[in-house]
Amino acid sequence: MALIAGLVLAFGITLADWGIRESYFHNMISSDSYSLSFSALLIACTGVSLLLSPMYYNRLNLPYMDIAAMKLFALAGGICIVSFVNLGLLFIGIELLSISSFVLAGSDKRNLLSNEASLKYFITGSVFSSFLLFGIALVYAVTGSFDVTVIGAFYSQAGGNINNLFYVGMLMIIIALGFKVAAAPFHFWAPDVYDGSPAMVTLFLSTMGKIAAFGAFLRLFNQAFLPVPYHIGILTCIMAVATMFIGNLSALWQDSYKRMLAYSAVAQTGYLLLVIPASGSMSADVLFYNGITYIAASVIAFSVLLLLNQYTESESRSQLIGLAKQNPFLAFAVTVAMLSLAGIPPTAGFFGKYYLFTLAAGAGYTPAVVFAVISSLISIFFYFDIIIKMYTGEAQEQLKMVIPPAYSFSIFVSLIVLILLGVFPGILTGLLQ
């Protein structure tokens, strides 16, 4: 419980110095509105994960405390990369986050799947962190400094005629961060890791890990490579569209609910990736809004999985049949989450998608928006299949599901977030202008 208290304190501090804008550690890290809001989001995410983990872990009787420590390390890494000014800190933060994720992925020692997940994550992760380092080196080669603002100034006043190495460096960094975020050609690790590692870790990785990486990605682009060159923009759009289609298509046939959530996470990355080519004034706002809705929806979706794990080993979708009869509140929450992930109006997911499409169309990538729309149509198949299973059909055995207070609290909060943001998006928009 002490941990949660600590986290709440940290959350309060970050909100407290909302207004102040200055940098610490000789300009390595800065606390502008962007970094503070994302840090707060990451802290909240970790808090939820810590809140839910005791009940989950004592069933697996794993050393709950070590895993909590790992999560906090990951959180530290996350906060670093969300508020970095110096590229060096970006690399260190990414590494801190990744290494603690490798450990978390393998946290269930006896389970072979978890081992395999951590192996895969480790090997691919370290290969692509070297890409990141090489990219930073190349960018340093051309601009002569690690400081993001200096690079940004150098790049913008250099205009078009900048040494080609710079673009190669930028591309290397995109590939590395693309991997971290599980974008299209580099997404292969994500389904296996998310499926293999224990459900609690998957929740943590897919929410905290992904949003931290996106925060870093966008911060880098907003600060350093602001006038995103058009063909780099198209490249990221292609990556985004590819991610969406692969994620959505593969999720269609998944019998296992967990693996379906993994692929849906990959698909959601595809949508978020559209923010990068359109980076500029509104992109931070869009990312933050979508980040919150994605986290809220994932928390609900995964908490159902966690609750089911209490009673049955199998993670197949058929477990959900007839849920509405046993537990109408949970079924309603999952329905809202699924509607939000699919992007149906009254929920926050819709406005997030709309906001994202407006941004992308504004930056001139309308074809990408059309593809995004088509892929979100494909996603209806499996999101609604869950809703259909819950509301039609009779559950085989009457498992009397009792929801511990921690779960009902977190589900309730996420539900409020999804509906409130859906009906009154005005609260958040314009926050990070």
């Binding site: 691919t124 290969v127 190669v168 580099f186 292969f188 692969i246 298509l249 593969s250």
Partner: protein
Amino acid sequence: MNLTFAQIALAALPFLPLAGFAVNGLWGRRFKETTIGIVGCGSILLSFLLSVFLFMANLSGSFATVQVRLFDWIPVANGSIGFSLMADPLSLIMLLVITGVGLLIHLYSVGYMHGDAGFARFFAYLNLFIFFMLLLVLADNFLLLFAGWEGVGLCSFLLIGFWFTNESYNAAAKKAFVMNRIGDLGFLLGMFLIVFTYGSLNFDQVFTAAATAGGANNATIIAITLLLFWGACGKSAQIPLYTWLPDAMAGPTPVSALIHAATMVTAGIYLVARCHVLFSLAPFTLSVVLAVGVATALLAATIALFQTDIKKVLAYSTVSQLGYMFAALGTGAYVAGLFHVVTHAFFKALLFLGAGAVIHALHHEQDLRNMGGLRTELPFVYRIFLVGTLAISGIPVFSGFFSKDEILMNVFQHHTVAWGLLFIGALLTTFYMFRLLALAFWGEKRGHHANYVPMNTTMKLPLAVLAFLSFAGGFAGLPEFTGLNWLHHYLSPVFSDVTLHNEPHLSIGVELGLMAFTVLAIAGVIWFYASRFKHLQTRELNQLNGELPWYKKLPANKYYVDEWYNRLLVQPINRLSDFLYRVADTLIIDGLVNRIGGMVLSAGNRARKLQSGDIGIYLYVMLAGASGLFLLYVLLGS
């Protein structure tokens, strides 16, 4: 508003039958038959008295035309079409016929329908029919006329399919309504053209605009008149759209008498007469009307020669007589056409009710082959049937002679070939009418009918009145040269503006000669048939049972028109419907959508396989992806 009494009468006129319909319709089942009869006939009696009052007022010159506007119905173009009624000499004549004959038929059907389960329903429908017919005749704009037009079509559907437990009657009713609808479509298109060119649908505005525009035979006028004539063909069963009338005999006989002899089928003629201004501006259409009229008259007459069902013979005879009326209109002799409408209403209603009496007496036996020798058994029916037959054949003194002769006279001046065909038609009419008379009444008794159902007075009275009218009706329009043609004088204000280019400039001598010639020919036919009717009858009976010679087979089977319609129109549509549903809808359009869904699912399956699980392959593909990005960057960058 100072509504004159005439206007109040006019306004009330159509709504009396409607009230009758409402009363019988809603509470009919609770009343006894007599009360239903009283309500039914009473409402028609009242409207008959009102129309007689209006007629007298008109005769006494208190008003030329009376008009009353009840309320605004539909705003069209600039003006707005009102739910307004108008009565002028033309509609008054039709009014008298409708309410008069209608009243008699109502009385008759009290007796005829005695004991039928749907007694109340029958009278309700009859009253509704009279309401729509009055609406049609009294309308002062095309739209209200169209409302009445479709209304009578609806009532004919209800009444033909009155005994709805019989499947074939239902089919006949549906066929009648759909065929009427085809005609109504033409009428609707004609109305659109009128609004499009003249900007309004009120008769007087349209006719004045048309008259001022002038310019005979321009394309729009011809188109309008042709479309209106197409609607009239649908309703008055002319050549292309006549096959529904013989099938309409499925309804009870009073219905056939009222609707398919006296009133509804004459709606087409009323429409052409009402729009005489338009038609006279389009001589081409008039010649079409003449041609269609003559063709229908001849065709129907030939078919009637070989029919064995008593009502079918009369049905084809009606189609043929309608052909005569349209021929008269075709020559521009609107008054002659209307005169024949009136007389035809009398004697054809008489014949139908007579036939009804026969059927009633012989327990619903309609086949002529097992009738015969009824002259002695049903003397009264035989006598009125004889009057009707003489009237329709055009024997002097009887009403048919005057009206048919006037038509022949007008057609003779206009188009001698047409006159010749119509003359042959007249002979054929006489032949098949006397054949019917002989088969039913003369000769020895065939069939096994013994105790005849007696007729009560409510059936006898209308028959007697109709017989008198068929006899005396002709004097309303004595031939022109006698100067006593009252009808012509009465209707002249309505048709005054039409330049009656065919004023009978024939000398009296030629006219008398023609008249004598036709009478002699008809008398010859009667004598020929009467003298050897036994021999002719036996030959025809065994021919009917056995194999008909080729030249008789064609008309006997109604020239296979019904079969042609079926094969050329009805079956292809049904086959198309089956094809469209099974192939186009489920296979192609629906199939396409489902296939797209299927494709997405199979793509999902393949995408799933992409995740092979082997780390080596992952790394390989990822690095390949990275180099692919570089390649793409280079390609895009250049």
